[in-house]
């Protein structure tokens, strides 16, 4: 069944991946709670003791989501991290198994068993990242199940945080705004407190702890005002109207021979950076790395990029030899193919690709030109 991410109908969202992006109870019914800012570190410490806590950290000017040993490491950023949450569930290089020759046979040692079965709690995720996880779940856990991804992804608690102001390249309002449809808890800064939306049963259990207090109508109004202000700011910077998902995909599909691809092909340097920072890109290459006589080695999965020359190289031919074809493929793989397959965009408007592109290709401008 196709669904529209912009029209929230929670029932349709509940897919049977078995993953506890826990069922939304009824977000309208929640009165919501709030937590005082000076108690937040206590709450996070409480979380850290119950779960393996992940949160934004900043080091050498690079912000990412990382494992937290002590609460003081957490960076409270006003906007999304530079590197997405993807590497936590789908690392750049993953060892599948080790093989070793013994008496003419190969003995395998599966690294899947070594992945910790930990209960994760991720604090400080933004809407773009949470939406990206939904998309990744579709690719990795629906038709074909990826056990390595699954093991990491299971038992993950999502505690989101609304942005205080957007980064230059953000455009999440085109995909439904800052608050996604599925989460466990969602924090929004309303001055002296964080307003907390409850999105699941697990979230409700957490909220029952001592740190939270009942929110008033006024707090909720403040939260709505806050969200609206930031979203208006994003819209002011970049307004892209992608609302009619199927129509939009059709529109973009028609532009297969548009001169824009030729132009972009000349600009693009095929460095693959946009793929690596994208929270929904999931292509990979599998290779065997052995010792000199092949008697032992490892099978490794490494990220791949559709911008690279070798990506579409087969034994017979390379069917995306030209750079413009590769540039087009990436845009199509975000806005056309996933719509045809799953009924969603595989872009969440985080704008990371705009930020890193050395050639200055801006996906917002590309989209605007394609749709108009």
């Amino acid at each position: 069944m196709l669904f529209n991410p912009l029209k929230t109908n929670n029932e349709i969202f509940i897919t049977n991946y078995g993953i506890n992006f826990t069922k939304i109870v009824n977000s309208v019914m929640n009165m919501g709670v709030k937590i005082a800012k000076n108690r937040i570190s206590e709450f996070l410490d409480y979380l850290r003791r119950r779960y393996v806590l992940y949160a934004p950290i900043e080091k050498d000017g690079i912000s990412k989501i990382g494992k937290i040993e002590s609460v003081s490491e957490i960076a409270f950023l006003p906007y999304r991290t530079k590197i997405s949450v993807k590497p936590i569930f789908f690392p750049p290089e993953e060892k599948f198994f080790k093989f070793q020759k013994k008496d003419g046979w190969f003995e395998l040692e599966d690294y899947l068993l070594q992945i910790d079965e930990e209960e994760k709690a991720i604090f400080g995720l933004r809407g773009c990242d949470v939406r990206a996880l939904e998309v990744l779940d579709r690719y990795m856990l629906s038709e074909f199940q990826d056990p390595y991804y699954r093991k990491r992804r299971e038992n993950t608690l999502i505690i989101g945080l609304s942005c205080d102001y957007p980064r230059e390249s953000c455009f999440c309002t085109a995909f439904g705004g800052m608050i996604p449809n599925r989460y466990d808890l969602w924090f929004t800064d309303i001055g002296s407190h964080y307003f907390v939306d409850i999105g699941s049963e697990k979230g409700r259990e957490l909220v029952n702890s001592e740190f939270f207090e009942e929110a008033t109508k006024e707090d909720e109004a403040k939260k709505i005002r806050k969200i609206n202000t930031v979203e208006m700011e994003i819209n002011r910077r970049t307004k892209i109207d992608l609302c009619e998902i199927k129509k939009c995909a059709q529109e973009i599909k028609k532009k297969a021979n548009d001169p824009i691809w030729e132009e972009l092909g000349k600009l693009c340097l095929s460095c693959g950076k946009c793929n690596f920072v994208c929270p929904t890109c999931h292509c990979f290459d599998v290779k065997d790395v052995t010792n000199i006589d092949g008697s032992e080695g490892e099978r490794i999965r490494a990220w791949d990029s559709c911008h690279l020359y070798e990506y579409a190289k087969t034994s017979a031919e390379n069917f995306r030899k030209e750079r413009k074809a590769r540039v087009r493929y990436r845009i199509y793989d975000k806005f056309v193919f996933p719509v045809m397959r799953y009924g969603v965009y595989a872009c969440t408007g985080c704008g990371r690709c705009n930020e890193v592109c050395p050639a200055g290709i801006n996906i917002r401008d590309v989209l605007r030109r394609l749709i108009s």
Binding site: I62, L269, S270, C271, D293, P358, A359
Partner: protein
């Protein structure tokens, strides 16, 4: 199998890199006999199965030596940047003969030839890029030869490996980095340590060199600076583009 390591005009850094393999060289010796290695052996023999040739011929004698090596080996591997692109030696091609002679204070006893990549003279089976070449790639190549696998050149840029290491982009910080056009495989050694890529591995086939020149110009580098950077390691490979840039 017998292997030989041969030097033409170069700094012999790649030969030293062979010795830098350290304990892996013992693994190597289980499968190969090193029959010819001027830097490490007193008695050298021919023919060999695999010839690793570093450097680039700069006179007639060396060209003949290269042709003889090609005749006496099954597999010829161009070792390091000088052998692959002409390397630093080929920078001399950017200036006139007369200018170059002045460096040595007069004419050399034998007339030198323009440094060119080995491909220009003989068929080369494999290339190992870098200044010096990467040890991992050498082991990869040797493993492929032993196991009968196909060895593939890396058809992607240093940028790929650099961004996988989550480095801050040096282009953004205003450095003249040649990462986007340089062949990957070095695990982005220089950019990871805060130094921009000089392009020692040479451009890869699919590189969008004109696109990168535009990016560099947008950052604010002059034509001369870009030409200097491009001709440091790969003048012979990028001759056309450099000519185009000069005229533009």
């Amino acid at each position: 199998m017998k292997i030989g390591i041969f030097s033409l005009s170069c700094c012999e850094g790649c030969s030293v890199q062979f010795l830098n393999l350290e304990e892996k060289i013992l693994d190597l010796l289980k499968h190969f006999g090193i029959e010819n290695f001027r830097l490490a052996k007193e008695y050298n023999e021919m023919p060999v199965d695999i010839a690793f040739v570093e450097g680039t011929p700069t006179n007639r004698e060396e060209i003949l030596k290269l042709l003889k090596i090609r005749k006496d080996c099954n597999v010829l591997v161009a070792l390091g940047t000088c052998a692959v692109t002409g390397g630093v030696s080929a920078m001399v091609n950017t200036m006139s003969k007369k200018e170059a002679m002045e460096v040595y204070g007069g004419f050399p006893p034998e007339m030198p030839v323009d440094p060119k990549p080995l491909d220009y003279y003989v068929d080369v089976d494999y290339h190992l890029y870098g200044c010096p070449f990467s040890k991992e790639e050498l082991m990869e190549l040797i493993t492929s030869i032993i196991l009968g696998k196909k060895y593939k050149d890396k058809e992607y840029s240093v940028c790929v490996e650099c961004s996988l290491r989550e480095n801050n982009c040096l282009l953004d910080q205003g450095y003249l980095c040649l990462g986007p056009i340089t062949r990957g495989g070095c695990k982005a050694l220089c950019p990871s340590n805060g130094k921009p890529c000089l392009g020692c591995r040479g451009p890869y086939e699919d590189a969008n060199i004109k696109g990168h020149i535009k990016v560099l110009q947008d950052i604010g580098f002059s034509k001369e600076e870009i030409i200097e950077a491009l001709s440091l390691f790969s003048y012979e490979k990028l001759k056309e583009v450099i000519g185009w840039l000069k005229e533009e």
